[in-house]
């Protein structure tokens, strides 16, 4: 199974680079769907077969929330705001990819002293999860478009969730469901706020939200 775990983690990491390289919002949202598929699949590959029923359930819920509902919400917000692409990111796309490569290297370095104490056999898992988290953060700070930032939050949450998925067998289901519910509501509330911003300002560029300062 370890081969499959590695493949899905690799999918996650490649999707990260796609996110960093593209300016089209629709492509960003599509890529989050890909990440959701990779995430829910690799949760299963960690456990031994036969899979516990709860784990299959959790994987399906993850796929539904992160792969169907949230992208749908983002797509709707995109149409309502009438914005197709990121115009002028703070950090350019090729520079973002370069930073991404450095971050990926760092993610591997960090986990050399932090030897995994859990029975995670794949040596890609923890670095891949950390890199996805960092990619999300990079998207949030280096892009101006509010919707790209929401997508960045989602990607970051995917990365954190991948850490959790490594523990999915041990962690109580209730908490995992709570986490998913919170992420869902967070994106929902952010979507509403983006919609209100686009109505009030006629744009959703967050660098122009700069009236409040000292």
């Amino acid at each position: 199974m370890i081969v499959w775990t590695d493949i899905f983690i690799l999918m996650l990491v490649l999707a990260d680079f796609r996110l960093l390289a593209t300016s089209r919002l629709a492509a960003v949202i599509q890529t989050t769907v890909l990440q959701a598929i990779a995430l829910s699949a690799f949760m299963l590959t960690i456990a031994d077969r036969p899979w516990p029923l709860l784990l299959i359930f959790l994987s399906l819920v993850t796929l539904t929330v992160k792969g169907v509902i949230l992208p749908w919400l983002l797509n709707r917000a995109m149409r309502e705001a009438g914005v197709q692409r990121e115009i002028e990111p703070i950090v350019g796309y090729s520079a973002s990819v370069l930073i991404g490569m450095i971050l990926l290297g760092l993610s591997f370095l960090i986990f050399i002293p932090l030897k995994s104490s859990v029975s995670v056999e794949s040596s890609f898992l923890l670095p891949g999860a950390l890199f996805t988290t960092l990619t999300g953060l990079l998207m949030i700070v280096s892009r101006k478009n509010a919707l790209t930032q929401v997508a960045g939050y989602l990607v970051m949450e995917n990365g954190v969730y991948a850490f959790g998925a490594a523990l999915a067998v041990e962690e109580p289901l209730l908490v995992e469901m709570g986490v998913l519910l919170d992420v869902f509501v967070a994106v929902f509330v952010m979507g509403i706020t983006v919609y209100q911003i686009s109505r009030e300002f006629d744009h959703i560029d967050t660098d122009r939200l700069s009236e409040l300062k000292d």
């Binding site: 002293p113 932090l114 995994s116 104490s117 859990v118 029975s119 988290t133 953060l137 949030i140 509010a146 930032q149 939050y153 970051m156 949450e157 954190v160 850490f163 959790g164 490594a166 523990l167 067998v169 041990e170 962690e171 109580p172 209730l174 908490v175 709570g178 986490v179 519910l181 919170d182 509501v185 967070a186 509330v189 952010m190 706020t193 209100q196 911003i197 009030e200 300002f201 967050t206 939200l209 700069s210 009236e211 409040l212 000292d214």
Partner: protein, 492 residues
């Protein structure tokens, strides 16, 4: 029993969403607040029944302390809100900065979100499981976002956006901290506080340190710790005043509870020094940066927001040092919350009376609205730690703790920052209260009465009385209780 302090406000909140009558909706808010307070007092007295070791929820001494603060503050805010909505919810309001007219959010959403906010904060206080705690803290962010944008205009939207995004990212990092805790337990320990404390010796120390760092950054963002504090002044200055009071007095404490839980686990694992020193460092940093921004501040709501950052710094500092300073910090949490609640309510009335958030527009309050003026000055003295108010006692206790621990450098820095803040705030507050208005700017007559209504004066005076009483006498049993909360034992 215990779970009802979460369920009842939740049900009332959902009911408020569909309730068609205005009066009944406001009654729901009062009912929720009253039930919550009564239940908190009851649970506080008969706490043994509300605590089972290893359960998901339970009322330990730290949780009870923060629950009581939240409950008291919410009751005051609920009374204030009913009057405030009666005055402001239906009419078009003139913006205090740019003068355009705007309308407010529908009242049903506002009241529902207030009650849900109470629900989620109560959940934070009674969670005995790090995962559940995380879910509850994230929920507080989401239900309080609509509260900040009650006044529907572009500045409140900007503040809400920053609040939502920065805090959500912060909380996501705290989730990473939770998972790191699970890694530290080799994936075998449930993140229940009792389990973690009992099995602390078996936890992996490197992972544990990483976990605390993540929890500190994550919950620290929500708590307004420098340098992750940037959302706080914006959200506090744009939210309606009673929401600012809740954010500052209750929500920041709840986030702090998350850090306290992490500190408890590390202390049990023998890493208390590591986490304590981090808290001391970030506490001092928060105090110093807040002081820098309070000098020459010309917006009085932002001034109060920076003061909250300062006081969160004091809490972190006290807890980080531990011992007597920790006990002082617990007392300080009470003093800060009640005092800041009072100050924000007063600032709301100042904003209504003068129609401006700028300090130079507000002059001679003591004559224009005598009661507001007296409360404003009293609140200022209390928050800066002047005797005879409660914060004086708690700040001196923390200082004593520092001297007992022979931390002279920290003590000198602490006193210096407090002195700077006292002078900075005095230079803002004293001219507001006693300064004469500029002659060429006649105060515009508002059609509405300037006299303090009972819904404002009542809660505000009770709060002022409480902070005065806390400064005069604290019974031995309360000291014991605070010491227990500061002991970081995690349990009952």
């Amino acid at each position: 029993m215990l779970v009802s302090i979460v369920l009842i406000p939740l049900m009332l909140g959902l009911l408020a969403l569909v309730m068609p009558w205005k009066g009944a909706r406001r009654a729901l808010l009062i009912a929720g607040a009253a039930y919550h307070s009564a239940m908190t007092v009851f649970l506080g007295l008969f706490r043994k029944d509300a605590y089972t070791s290893g359960a998901w929820i339970g009322l330990d001494s730290q949780g009870l302390l923060f629950l009581a603060i939240t409950s008291a503050l919410f009751l005051a805010v609920a009374i204030y809100t009913t009057g405030y909505l009666g005055r402001d919810s239906e009419r078009k309001v003139r913006d205090s900065v740019e003068g355009f007219l705007f309308s407010n959010e529908p009242e049903a959403i506002f009241i529902a979100c207030l009650l849900l906010f109470l629900t989620s904060m109560s959940m934070v206080c009674i969670s005995r499981d790090m995962g559940l705690l995380w879910v509850a803290v994230e929920a507080t962010t989401l239900v309080s976002a609509p509260l900040i944008t009650f006044h529907r205009h572009h500045r409140s939207l900007e503040a809400t956006w920053k609040y939502l995004l920065i805090c959500s990212v912060g909380i996501a990092i705290a989730l990473l901290g939770n998972y790191f805790l699970a890694f530290a337990g080799h994936g075998k320990t449930h993140l229940n506080l009792d389990n973690l404390v009992a099995g602390a010796g078996l936890l992996d120390q490197t992972w544990l340190k990483a976990a605390f760092l993540m929890l500190l950054v994550g919950y620290g963002t929500k708590m307004g710790m420098v340098p992750m504090h940037t959302w706080l002044p914006d959200a506090h200055s744009e939210a309606p005043s009673m929401v600012s009071a809740l954010l500052s007095g209750a929500l920041l404490n709840c986030a702090f509870l998350g850090i306290l839980r992490g500190h408890t686990v590390l202390a049990a694992a023998g890493l208390g020094e590591f986490s304590g020193e981090l808290l001391v460092f970030f506490g001092m940093l928060s105090m110093a940066v807040a002081a820098a921004f309070m000098i020459r501040q010309n917006d009085y709501k932002r001034m109060l927001a920076y003061s909250s950052i300062e006081h969160m710094g004091i809490l972190a500092l006290g807890v980080g040092l531990g011992g007597l300073a920790g006990t002082g910090a617990m007392l300080h949490a009470v003093n800060h919350s009640i005092t800041k609640g009072l100050l924000f309510l007063v600032s709301g009335h100042l904003l209504f009376t003068y129609g401006s958030k700028k300090t130079y527009d507000v002059r001679h309050v003591i004559r224009t609205a005598p009661l507001t003026g007296i409360l404003w000055v009293a609140g200022f003295l209390a928050i800066t730690g002047a005797p005879p108010f409660g914060a004086f006692l708690s700040e001196v206790t923390i200082l004593k703790g520092m001297l007992e621990a022979d931390r002279w450098g920290i003590a000198i820095g602490y006193l210096a920052v407090l002195a700077v803040i006292f002078i900075a705030m005095a230079r803002i507050v004293i001219p507001m209260a006693f300064g004469l208005p500029q002659q060429d700017q006649p105060v515009e007559e508002s059609p509405l009465s300037k006299k303090e209504p009972l819904w404002f004066a009542g809660p505000a005076m009770v709060m002022a009385f409480i902070i005065l009483a806390l400064g005069l006498y604290i019974p031995g049993s309360v000291w014991n209780f605070l010491g227990q909360a500061a002991a970081m034992k995690g349990g009952f």
